[in-house]
Amino acid sequence: MAPLSEILLAISAVWAIAALLVQALAARGAIVGPRAPAMGRASRGVLYGFTTAMLPTRKESASRHPVSFAAGLLLHLGVAASFLTVLDSSFPLPLSSARLLLAPAAGAGLVAGLFLLVKRLVTPDLRAISRPDDYLASLMIAALLAGTLAFRAGVLSATALRILAAILVLYLPLGKLRHAVFFYLARADLYGRLGFRGVYPPRGGGDAGRA
């Protein structure tokens, strides 16, 4: 029989998937086939949205905020490393020497996450638009990343790590962490629309003279 922590993690995963599915289906009104004749292809717009449009040179949110952008990348890599570690603790993955990268990735993610949390706390504009959910989500992520580091260092049990992960996954559909799913839906919707209208991919020589 599987350990209790694995059962808890499985239940939280089922809950998160079901809850996110319900939420995504609730927004299905967004997915309406356009009735106007097309000037481009939605699929090409979506492809552009998830490739070229993601490049730092294409997004002012990256090019004008390189430190925050880099921190965001590291944070998300760290979270991925943490979940790989959690999975690996129950079902050993064929990671071989890549396993050695999990702790540094989680560590870098933790530093980046704490940087972004402090930035949120000390930047007046960011503080103004933040809500308790933003801080709670950051702390939960930080706890998982720290737990991963501790687990890899042998000072935290797999059971404790799984419980940390389960708590995070339970909370995932309730607050800002749901962007893990809605990021893909929103981006696909926006760029699909712009692709259909012939805006993207750009036709007129491209980069439009960005500032």
């Binding site: 949110s61 959910d133 607050g175 929103a186 926006l190 805006v199 003279g209």
Partner: protein, 448 residues
């Protein structure tokens, strides 16, 4: 200063709530749920760049609607509103929403292209405006313009007689200028291939733009007409997200095209008119149109590519730049036709930085020009566009949107820009070499 809050008794909370519930199942809710409030969107918003206060962050504007959605539709919002800052649906909350989505956003969508997630912010703004429209909280100037359109058939309430009279004297002018007595502004000519819709601003204040269009159509041998009853390309129902009004205005134009036997509706230079008619209209009418719909820019591009008349670019010798209206370019997909046209009819085109789909809003979009209460913000937010124009060193701004043109004219005055704002069709008209143009027989069309 924004409007004083409407008395609670005048706010139709129930209708607004019903609309909010509908919104919760659509695109806006999807995008609102994806926001992580990273705040990186501010640098891409002309309102925030001009006045960097938290309320001008696109994320803050999204949050105004999202907090109401959470309060009504999410588990956490109902059980622990303090955690997600979910808000109750009150007249005060709606008043704040109104300030955010009418007074601090033109729905230009630039922030969406640069959002770290890819939120369609303007769809959230549109949904919020829909809720406010249902509540009866559309700003009065915008509401009045919609009422004019519905009641009088055009947003400026121009009487039909005045329209016909203007077309008459413009025809005389055109015949004199071209030396061709058949050159005229055609009105109510059934059987014409093209029904041309214009901005009433052209009829009322800038008739030379209408004359230029008539001249270009004449030079191209186009079979075209205006309708004296339905000629307004604008749709302020779109700005207010008043779907009933927007649908009615679209329906009238499509029916008028059928009545006159036109096979194509051509839209004058109007950003939101193009977007609403070309892209949103079929959604409102729940089906594709029985006629083709194009921007006049596409038609001009076709004329010039097909050598339908001869042009001399030296007649437009001053350095020129091109404004990219958000609804026409970023939301409309009309990006290159105007560039190809200007490359043929002007000697020197200097692009703004950034341009095309990356353009900055002029500040007058989203119906803001009709909302006097936000006039100061509108002019302040236009500082970005004014700087863009100044940096090109251009003396002429080609502006393929009459709404943007009004804003740019005001910006030129306020920010002391030494530029002339002109529509693309005016620039084309000026370049026509009439000595090489064939005399046209009445009603003869050179269209394929």
């Amino acid at each position: 200063m924004p409007d004083a809050p409407d008395p609670a008794s005048r706010v139709d909370l129930l209708a607004a709530l019903r609309t909010l519930d509908r919104v919760a199942g659509g695109r806006a809710a999807l995008h609102a749920k994806a926001c992580v409030r990273c705040g990186l969107c501010g640098q891409s918003c002309h309102f925030y760049l001009a006045d960097p206060v938290p309320a001008n962050l696109p994320a803050a504007k999204v949050e105004k609607l999202a907090s109401l959605l959470r309060g009504r539709r999410t588990f956490l919002g109902r059980r622990a509103p303090w955690l997600s800052r979910a808000r109750e649906f009150t007249p005060e909350a709606l008043e704040e929403l109104r300030d955010a989505v009418f007074g601090r956003c033109t729905g230009c969508g630039r922030c969406s292209l640069h959002c770290s997630v890819g939120l369609d912010v303007s769809s959230v703004i549109e949904a919020a405006r829909r809720v406010l429209s249902a509540a009866g909280l559309t700003p009065s100037g915008l509401r009045q313009t919609i009422e004019n359109q519905i009641r009088d058939g055009n947003q400026m309430s121009i009487p039909r007689e005045e329209f016909v009279e203007t077309a008459g004297w413009l025809s005389e002018e055109l015949a004199r200028e071209t030396g061709d007595p058949d050159a005229r502004v055609r009105v109510d000519e059934a059987g014409s291939r093209v029904l041309y819709l214009v901005n009433p601003r052209e009829v009322k204040f800038f008739p030379l733009s209408l004359q230029a269009a008539a001249g270009v159509f004449h030079a191209a041998g186009e079979s075209w007409t205006l309708s004296s009853r339905v000629y307004d390309v604008t749709n302020y129902g779109f700005f207010a997200a008043d779907d009933a009004a927007a649908t009615e205005l679209t329906r009238r134009a499509v029916e008028e095209a059928a009545r006159l036997g036109a096979s194509e509706i051509v839209l004058s230079e109007c950003g939101h008119g193009f977007r609403s008619f070309r892209w949103e209209g079929p959604e409102w009418l729940d089906g594709a149109y029985p006629v083709r719909v194009r921007s006049v820019l596409e038609l001009l591009d076709e004329y010039l590519a097909g050598n339908r008349f001869r042009v001399d670019p030296s007649r437009n010798a001053l350095p020129m730049t091109l404004h990219d209206p958000c609804n026409l370019v970023r939301w409309g997909g009309i990006v290159e036709p105007q560039r190809r046209v200007l490359a043929r009819v002007a000697e020197r085109l200097v692009e703004m930085t950034p341009n095309r789909e990356q353009n900055f809003c002029c500040g007058g979009g989203g119906g803001l020009l009709a909302m006097e209460e936000y006039g100061e913000r509108r002019i302040a937010s236009g500082a970005i566009k004014a700087a863009q124009i100044r940096d090109t060193g251009a003396r002429v701004v080609a502006c393929p949107c009459h709404n943007c043109a009004d804003q740019l004219i005001e910006l030129a005055r306020v920010y002391a820009l030494d530029v002339e704002i002109r529509s693309v069709v005016e620039i084309v008209y000026d370049a026509i070499d009439w000595s090489a143009a064939p005399k046209r027989e009445p009603g003869i069309s050179a269209s394929p």
